[in-house]
Each structure stands twice: as C-alpha cells, then as structure tokens.
Symmetry: C2
Subunit: 351 residues, 2 copies
C-alpha cells in the first residue's frame, strides 16, 4: 500500500551502497574511489564517479567522522567577533580551511568571566574540534585553556611572551615602535599612549613597544591610559586628556579609539594634526577617509588567519603521522611584519 518510494529508502540521501549497487561494485570499492585509493582501475573509478553524479551523491560527514573519529573541524575562539580585525581573520581562516577540506566553527566569549569562557570552549569541544585558533586574546582565556589541559593543538593570533609555542602574530611590539618612532621623528616629545584593555595580550605588547621606543630615544614616558577599544572611550579619554594640555601627540592602540580622540580634540576647538598628532593601529578600511585621514599601522589580519590554519592543519597531520616534534618549525611563518601607513593625522608639532 504505502510502499511508495520509487527507489531507495524513504527520502534518505543515497549512500555509498546505493552507488555501489548502481555501479555493480562493492561498497568498499566506492569508498576507495572516494578516498582515491591507488589500486582502482580507471574504468571502475569513472563508472563509480558517474553514478555518483547521477545520483547526486554526497558523502555523509557524520558517518565518516564517527568511524575515523576525526572531525576535520577547526574551532575559533573569539570575543569581539564583529570587529574588523577578528572578522577579517576569521574570514581568512574559513577560506584557508575550506581548501584543506576542514570545517570552521566559532564560539564567542560573551563576557569575560570564567564561566562564559568555559562555556565557549566547551561548545567547541562538543563539536570535537581537532584544533583551535584563539582570537580572543584575553589572558584569562589562556588561563582557562591551560586549566582544562586538553591536548588539542591551538594557535593564538596574538603575540604573547608566555605561550610562545602557540603564538603566531603580527609583531605588535614592532608596530607600536614604528608608530612611536614616527611621532618622535617628527619632533614630538609629549606623547601619550591610549592602550586596549589591560588583559588583552596584544594591548600589552603594543604598550611595551611604545615604552621601549620611548626609552630608546630618551623621551620622557607618560602613564598609559587604559582604554577599551571603542571610539566612545577614545572620545571621553580625549576630553579628559585635554584638560591638561601637556602633550602634542597621541598613539592610540586602535583606529576606533583614534577616531574618538580626534572627535574630542576637534570638539575642543583644536586641530589635528595642527595642534595634536594622532596615530592609530590596524588600518581599518575607513581609516583612509577619516578627517584627517589617519596615520596608522597596518596589520595583515588575513595573512594571520591563513597561517594559523596551515600551522594547525600541519600540526594535526604531523601528530597523526609521527610522534610530536618540530616545535620551532616554520620559522618565518610565526610573525607577520606590520607596516606604518602615514596619512594626514600626523605632523611636526607646533612650536
């Protein structure tokens, strides 16, 4: 009566056995074609392949994962996913992973408490990821990661003195030095630095670069101002700073805060760069059209993402193949050099 189904099982997608039957071979032969095993006659292979396309066959990833216990999945752990930098890196990660036939899933750290960090990590673990890319570079995330002592390979896109087995980064310190050097070279001596949140590793690195460069050039250093990456904060920080005008330049840890700063400076009736020079960090696409166009440090987020994947996939492959080894491998791969982009927001200080 109700045994309608014209062929195959009720709505189920065609399986390897359906293909096998149609092609007149065993299911194992089909499997071999899928994994291009060497000893398959060309004629057999093409016959199987043609049946596959005819039936619109798609290998079932779940079944494969089940038996191989490999998910071919990379997890990305991130906070601030919608910001330009992370978003660009994620995009690159996905594209690179796709080429290696890996799947990418991301988990957001919503708060910065232990629990939400753990929840995000757990989410990734539930998907049986084979490796992780950490873009949310709060120190706390690393602590959580360490505490769970899972033996997953992971890579962070931020430099960190502490965990340099895993780190891969734009040389933040160098970038900060470039920015600072530029200001000093222009003749500035009263220079403030607006940092990112203090538990962000990259914020720390930029601050360190700033302080080192100031020290090297014997410019008296000022206390860094702890920011939170937002334009909003930059604006208020600028207002505070301007109450005592003991500076002629500011190096902001990212472009958004620089934008806020410029806004505040202009609100105070002053000119950028006439009265005060501002340097940002990141080179977001809008930076070239700020008023004035922003001098900033460009980082190649996409490159970072691509390298993260190659490192991770490489590691995974190596681990499968042989015992663990080659920590210091990929020497040139680990650091990407940032670039100073000079635009209109910096000039020699007024006398």
């Amino acid at each position: 009566m109700t045994e309608a189904a014209p062929e195959g099982r009720r709505g189920r997608a065609p399986s390897i056995r359906d293909v096998a039957r149609e092609a007149g071979v065993s299911h194992q032969t089909v499997s071999r074609v899928l994994n291009d095993h060497p000893s398959i006659r060309d004629e057999t292979r093409s016959r199987v392949l043609s049946v596959m396309t005819r039936l619109n066959y798609r290998p079932n990833r779940a079944a494969r994962a089940l038996v191989t216990s490999r998910s071919r999945t990379i997890g990305v752990l991130t906070s601030s996913r919608s910001e330009y930098g992370p978003a660009s890196s994620i995009k690159a990660i996905e594209e690179a992973a796709l080429l290696e036939d890996y799947l990418v899933i991301t988990a957001n750290v919503v708060g910065d408490d232990e629990e939400s960090i753990a929840r995000a990590i757990t989410h990734l673990l539930d998907q049986a990821v084979e490796g992780m890319v950490v873009i949310a570079p709060q120190v706390r995330v690393f602590d959580a990661l360490a505490a769970m002592d899972l033996d997953l390979p992971f890579v962070t896109l931020q430099s960190t003195g502490r965990l340099n087995d895993h780190s891969l980064s734009v040389d933040q310190m160098m970038g900060a030095r470039l920015a600072t050097r530029h200001l000093i070279d222009l003749g500035h001596r009263g220079i403030y630095h607006l940092t990112g949140p203090q538990d962000w590793i990259e914020a720390e690195a930029r601050m360190e670069g700033f302080l080192l460069e100031m020290g090297d050039r014997d410019v008296p250093t000022t206390a860094p101002i702890l920011g939170d990456w937002t334009a909003e904060f930059g604006y208020y920080a600028g207002r505070e700073l301007l109450r005592v005008r003991d500076f002629t330049a500011i190096f902001s840890s990212n472009d958004q805060m620089a934008l806020g700063l410029i806004h505040a400076i202009r609100d105070a009736g002053l000119d950028v760069p006439g009265d005060i020079s501002v340097v940002g960090f990141d080179d977001i696409p809008e930076a070239a059209h700020f008023w004035p166009p922003l001098t900033t440090v460009r980082q190649d987020f996409a490159e970072l993402g691509r390298r993260a994947v190659s490192l991770l996939v490489g590691t995974a492959a190596a681990e499968t193949a042989a015992g663990s080894e080659g920590e210091g491998s990929h020497p040139g791969l680990r650091s990407v050099t940032p670039e100073l982009i000079v635009r209109g927001s910096t000039a020699r200080p007024a006398l």
Copy 2:
C-alpha cells in the same frame, strides 16, 4: 604484552556504553537520560549523570547525526562577512543558535560569479545543514538557490518583494524614507542618493524608499548613483558629484560611503553640514564619532539574527512535527523597524 590501556578502548573517548557499564544500567537508559526521557527514576538518572561527569563524557555528535539524520546545524551564506552589519548578525545568530543547541557554520561567497556562489552553497550542503540564513543578499544568490531547488528552509535577512516567504528584514524601505523625509523636512530639494551595488536586494529597497518618499513630497528626483558600499567609492563619487554643484544633500546607502563622501566634500573646501548635508545608513559604532557625527538610520542587526534563528528552528521543528503550514505566521516577527538617528551631519540648506 601491549594490552596497556588502563580502562576503556585505546584512547577513544568514553561512550554511552562505558557510562552504562559504570552505572550498572543499559546503554539505552543512558541514552534516555541524555534526551531526558520522562520515565527514568530520579535515582537512576542522578547515578548516570554522576558517572557521566566522572568520566567526562561528551555525547558524540556525529553518531547522533548519523542515526537521526539531523545535523542540528544552520548554515549562513554570506559575502562581506567582515563588515559590521553582517558580522553583527552572524554573532547574534550564533548566540541564538547555541541556545537551541544548534551549530552554525558559515560559507563565504568570494566572487559574485555563479560558480563561487554554487561552491559556497555546496559547502553548506556538504555539512548537511538543516536550514540556511542568507546574508549575502545578491539577487544572484537567490537565483542560484532557486536553481538548485533544494527543499531546505531558508531565511534572508533582507527584504525582497520577490521572495517574501523567506524574507525577514529591517524595513529598508521605511528606513530610506525616514532618511529622505528628514532631508526634505529640513528644506532640501536637490538631493542625491548613493546606492549599494545594484544586485543587492537591500540596496534596491533603500533606493525604492528614497524614490517613493521623493515622489510623495513632490521633490524632483535625481538619478541614483550606483555605489559599492566602500568608503573609497564614496570618496570618488563625491568628487564627481561636486563638479556640478546642483544639490545640497546626499543620502548614502551606508555609513562607509557617507564617510567617503564627507571626505570628498571637505577636500573640496566645503563644509558638512554647512554646505551639504549627508545622511548614512546602518549606524555603525564609529558613526557617532565621524566629523561631523553622522546622521544615519540605525538597524538592529542582532535582532535580525535572533529572529532568523527562531524562524528557522521553528520551521524545522514544525516540519518535523506536522505537515507544512503557517506561511504567514509570526506576523510581527518578520520586520524590524529602523530608527533615524539625527546627529551633526545634517542641517537646513544654505540659502
């Protein structure tokens, strides 16, 4: 000799049967605990649960997907993934999906040719997604989707006259009308509109809103200028436009282009809003700190993402439960009202 493994199988994660053995129940009972089946004695349940935590048991998603043939995965199809709007929506989608215990994977459409669109869709299909959210709202993507006539539920985050079964959107047309109305109310009559790429559905909707409002108010319309969403384009468009100064206001289809426009206007020695008023669209976080702060239309990207998930998960559930039904359901859910944010980039026209 080599039968080392202290307990359990070689390195494999604990399975439902391991838990069962330890708890002295059958594997099926463990399964029932996992799916919280009603008829399980409290004592049994808690015993099983405690074994689970002790063994650090994690259900194997692949196995579950295999037998149920449900992946609990939502696919997001996107281009321009790193821009603020899409990125915000994606973030919200992920958070909402997580609550429903769904996994989110995204696929980027890299070019806009048929092939890369097909590749992205195929990628999602390979993961056996149960539904799709389309954020790359090029008309072409829909054509491709229609051409493959898969019976997946999908939702687009952009309004479209054509596919309104699936659409869910900020009322783009209304937003555009609000922006345009604001300019007209201020007294502007020479108003240009800078659109997004012509095959973007939302660009089209905004353009339509603009034209309708202009018509309603009997303001002579001008030919829209086809843009590409970038600040760069806004800049060059501004330069071109300024060669013939037959306007006093511009409504830009997004904030980035508005930024470029302002840059061009200022380069030409003119003032915003003194000489020319500019309105944007999106209200990206930086917009409040542009110089001048940008008048724009805010859309709630996150809300959109959340609703997309609830719609999709709802559909999936409904489809499983009963026959197809309720197309027009969720009446208020389908449209999110945008809001005009008036800041400093608009003013009455100079005489």
